[in-house]
Subunit: 117 residues, 2 copies
């Protein structure tokens, strides 16, 4: 926890980028604001970074995603249909909806992804 009433200010690139694992080739995640480390009471904020050719798994879960595309261009699959997205786009993936993200360009596709803690 930080000092001074536990607030936090950090450049996103100064937060460690962890490999997602075999189910998400070319994908890294930075936990920007976390429940355990930062005391976020309601939701955690992550930066997802997908290299050229990479993708997250095709899956669903009982919680939502709230995304904001920071850079690059990609595609989001919702219930089997693919949608193009680019920097400045906002994506709301409701709970229990099948979804997947993939890079559609040569630049790293970076987007914020909020999830309940």
């Amino acid at each position: 926890m930080a000092d001074d009433a536990d607030f936090k200010i950090v450049g996103y690139e100064d937060v460690e980028a962890k490999e997602f694992g075999d189910e998400a080739p070319g994908v890294k995640i930075r936990w920007l604001i976390d429940a355990e480390a930062d005391g976020a009471p309601v939701y955690a904020l992550r930066m997802i970074e997908i290299d050229e050719g990479g993708n997250t798994p095709d899956h669903s879960h009982p919680f939502e995603h709230e995304n904001f595309v920071v850079s690059g261009s990609g595609e989001v699959m919702i219930e089997g249909n693919w949608h193009q997205v680019k920097a400045g786009d906002v994506i709301f993936v409701p709970p229990n909806v099948r979804h997947q993200y993939r890079n559609a360009g040569s630049e790293t596709f970076k987007f914020l992804c909020g999830v309940p803690v």
Copy 2:
């Protein structure tokens, strides 16, 4: 509510920018993902845009802010102390902490601001 399992994809500039009001001169807010309009179950995502010379009120409330600076440069006050922030910075303002935001440059200072619904 959107079709197709109520997902939403929208460019942030296509969401209406509403004037914040007299207590926040030069400030506009876009409700990117909302409880009422979009069915966000846990938290809402807003874009706050502060013109040159503008600022939000000096205040506190019993819920947190999770911020990501999208463009421009600004300053965040936490419990009376001002901190410089720029594009790519992440800010966590815990519940019940006094805070205020202001533009510190000539470009519009834009940051995402998540709050519990």
